[in-house]
Symmetry: C3
Subunit: 439 residues, 3 copies
């Protein structure tokens, strides 16, 4: 089965080096098989944990009256993403793409099982470990959407969108690069998914935000922007820390192998660069908000960290530490400038996911050419544009299809009441009664 490994320029380099490596008994293939699978499992559980991170981040950044709804959406989308990726997504992304535009429509099947008579360790890793790791990635893409469209989208139509996104949109564009489709043939390089995961979520979020429209009261008649602070900055901070932690799995295990010393070095470098890009994003957002607004802005700092992480995701291996810090710092600056820009455009992005995941996703994908000689700017732009066009168009179609059938926006009355009372009939913090009435 064709895997991401075939499609990144760097991997080819590494594999080249491996043949050049001084002759010594290579790691036993069964040991390598175990270690490769273990990397997927560890990386996978770390990325699964990011689902909790998004949930906490988003629950912290919406108003009290929508907090429980936010939790339902995040739990539900993670569950649906797994089921859809099993039913359709994985094979659509990876099975027989062969330079083309998509794989086949079929249930995923591990092929081998622990009850098999023999495991062919030349395969490199357990196929179930790989599936697990790929599945948590598609969930990440869906998590990105939920934050942007929060506080005014109907729950079940949102889940409808998640089904299409995780079963079809994400896997088809994923097939182009990681599934060894046409973009991988052209040399598009996106190591762990600045474009393939993050900007995909970002485009879906952007189209959703535009089609849904802004929350009532967010923008005044003369274009005034009314800040709507989130309910809990500690939850948002916790969410950010969870995401930072999970990103070591997201980027680190995207090396896809731990069966050689070179892989161990690569994963280690990726950990370091991932961390330092986030650090660069934090410090930039900290200093810029102090300079621009005289006040430090915690939500900008949290998004600055995430911006650094998204920015390094397309190429966490080839940058030096200094370059990683700078790539992340640019990401942090992007967030500080794009958040108000979106407000000027009256695009209401509740949690700032569009600057973080879409704009920094693009930046990170372009930045690959700064440090990876195997990447070309034109090809990177092609990939960004092709994926952007595909996801925007298909998302727009799905959003409109939902809008004109079941409807996607809650009633004005329900929006005022909040999703928790309207769709759930419960409150997130029932003993702190002010929450649902104040704002």
């Amino acid at each position: 089965m064709i895997k991401r490994i075939l499609t990144t320029g760097l991997m080819t380099t590494v594999m080249g080096l491996m043949t050049m490596a001084p002759a010594h008994a290579a790691v036993d293939s069964e040991v390598a098989y175990i270690l490769n699978s273990l990397l997927f499992l560890i990386g996978g559980f770390l990325v699964m944990w990011m689902a909790a991170g998004f949930c906490m981040l988003e629950a912290g950044l919406v108003r009290t009256k929508n907090v429980a709804t936010m939790c339902v959406k995040n739990v539900g989308l993670y569950a649906l993403a797994g089921i859809l990726y099993f039913l359709v997504g994985y094979n659509l992304m990876y099975s027989g793409v062969d330079g083309g535009f998509m794989g086949s429509f079929s249930l995923w099947d591990a092929g081998e099982t622990a009850a098999s008579e023999a495991i062919n360790t030349e395969g490199g890793y357990s196929s179930a470990s790989d599936w697990f790791f790929q599945m948590v990635f598609v969930a990440t893409a869906a998590s990105i959407v939920s934050g942007t469209v929060a506080e005014r989208i109907k729950m079940f139509p949102f889940f409808g969108f998640v089904i299409v996104l995780t079963g079809f949109i994400y896997p088809i564009q994923g097939a182009w690069t990681w599934g060894a489709g046409w973009l991988s043939v052209s040399g598009f390089s996106d190591f762990a998914g600045s474009t393939i995961v993050h900007s995909v979520g970002g485009w879906a979020a952007l189209t959703g935000a535009i089609i849904l429209g802004a929350r009532k009261g967010k923008y005044g008649p003369n274009g005034q922007v009314r800040p709507i602070p989130g309910s809990s900055l500690t939850l948002a901070t916790l969410g950010m820390f969870i995401l930072w932690l999970g990103w070591f799995g997201f980027n680190g295990a995207s090396q896809l192998a731990l069966g050689s010393a070179i892989d161990a070095v690569a994963v280690s470098q990726i950990f370091v660069n991932t961390n330092m890009a986030a650090a660069g994003g934090v410090v930039t957002a900290l200093c810029l908000t102090k300079l621009l607004y005289k006040k430090v802005d915690l939500t900008m700092i949290l998004n600055g960290a995430l911006a650094g992480l998204v920015s390094i995701t397309a190429e966490p291996l080839t940058p030096t530490i200094g370059e990683a810090i700078l790539i992340g710092a640019v990401g942090g600056a992007i967030v500080v400038f794009v958040v108000p820009l979106l407000d000027k455009l009256q695009i209401d992005d509740v949690v700032g996911a569009i600057p973080v995941h879409l704009v920094c996703g693009i930046w990170g994908t372009l930045a690959v050419v700064l440090t990876n000689d195997g990447a070309s700017l034109m090809t990177q732009i092609t990939g960004i544009a092709a994926i952007g066009a595909f996801v925007s168009i298909t998302s727009t179609i799905v959003w409109y299809a939902l809008k004109y059938t079941v409807g996607i926006r809650v009633s004005e009355e329900d929006e005022h009441k909040g999703g928790d009372l309207a769709e759930l009939g419960m409150e997130a913090y029932p003993e702190f009664g002010i929450g649902s009435q104040k704002i």
Copy 2:
């Protein structure tokens, strides 16, 4: 020392297969020893983290006035479980059971240490890594109890119960299967403990709930059920995510080995099935509550995820993904129907632990026969019944012994005030003063 590995039917199959495996140099025994130990350590820290998950889940589902008390209980029970399992539990469960009913009364001793002159790597793994992994399991069983009996149990009597549960009740019944006692001889199959861990906690919780009685005001004189919403659905959601994450360790490391490719495949499949059963539980609870009540219920969804996880725990390896989803989905449905049933019986289970851990624990143990040819329905029923009877009877004795000596229920006045003021003299959220007065 006899371990779980001897007692699961599947293991025998796997070991059978390993002899059949095509001749190639097996993994070096020292490398296998390291990898096996590493699996226990990773699995162990993930399951340890579940203690935090239970704490957050339960703190979120009690009223503000009992939140700090809930935290004390969860921290305290985790500490006590470790100490008791060292002092009595481990050897009572694993040392010299030999087809019988219990092991020996003695302190656990690792036997080998890093200062030993030589490590016998044929042993398979470090005995301390195994102890650590087994210890976090007993803590899990205790965590289950604390949620059900919350808001009206006295703190120190509760700890008294924990001591007996973790030092004696859990280890003795654990010896029957995992300690190679009489149930393992009969072929009872419970891979990671749907019965041995979860329903044990569930039976202890059920007897406690009955003997304690319901919280004041929970049930009206004519059988009306008054909902008592929890203080923080975000904490409850966080707790659920922590438990989901921890479950990869709980089930995955219950494979007990990572020293061969077959083990790597098995652990990977377990990860996938564990995840998908939870997903099945979520989607079922989501749809059922919408259909039945017109409103989606977040606490049901959280418990639906946990129900799926408990249901797959007795056999996370042999099901296909589709079967895993279904097994979890049945678990999710059980929760939706059993929660109101308990209320009809006026059994006050504050967090829903009885449906999740006891009823789904039974379901999961029965479901083993659907996918594992090595299991027989009669033997499964025997195991469930024997363990259920033993734990119910011993728990009842302990609860009553505590009740008629030190007392187990707080005074009516203290119950009204809440545990935080009564037993701790502090508030969980002192600046949100409504909490302790409103309900």
Copy 3:
């Protein structure tokens, strides 16, 4: 490059044993290289997660009006620690110390990369994995400071202190022992840093608390102590659990190797002892507060767990389980007695970091001699005193330099308003409006 491994007495013992080990083919050097690096990466991400733990603990223990500020400080210090350790710290600590007082001033450079033509696996592990692991330790030291000085320190001067601490103070004293400097030559033994990490943070915190002075209203004119309860005991509890989890990485991966069965045994024992010391601290704090005050105190229990963890950190390998419990229990008792003592001295330590990290750090370092024959009491005292003197003096200089230039204390008005409004212009929980006015 010289590493911690050279400097702990126990390591020498272990290495001695390895030569004594019965002749069998040792683990292949490349496999050992991978496993050693993997230990650093797993340990590293667990310790990184401790940054979130400190953030939640501290955010939960300050008043609502300072919660968001606390989050900014914790996110910011983690980012800065990484950058400074890259720019100055690592090489100052590890490069060419050679029995002396410090290394060299230079950027850290991994030396090898995945693009290198060959990895010399005799080196033992990827240098980037080691750097990552060392970096998260310096962040831990900085995290300790932020809690003590909370609620009255200006944000940017605090970051200034963090820069000096993580770039210079911590690395220089670290060089003495772990960098193979003069203290390691003398035989000072501090396995994972009771002194080198925890008491370093503690001394920096103590000097800061004294120079800053207490929060307004904390101490009355006649020495009355006014309790100022924290905003969220659930967040504090969550933070403690995160720290407990992270500590398995902190102590476990300080074994610095997983490439042999003896290392696997050692890491496993460390996990067990670490856990049991924390359990000892919890039970002691639970019982002591009940006995002394008739009420159980949750914050004491949380600090009791951390006290146990700090106490075992200097030597988590040689104690038996029983000894580990006792070492942790003494730590728990220290916290219960030193917290009120500090209040008598009118040293205002907002979260209790001085008893936990400084006093228990000293206790743990002394306790090494109880179980490790290679350690001498005089040398341990020398190390504690030398590091204590160095860190206290340099910290005092830095605090005063900041005080008399930019100032370190917020204005009385801003202290009353709280950092969130004064420095951030935002509230952590804007819909729970009481918070910022009540206390």
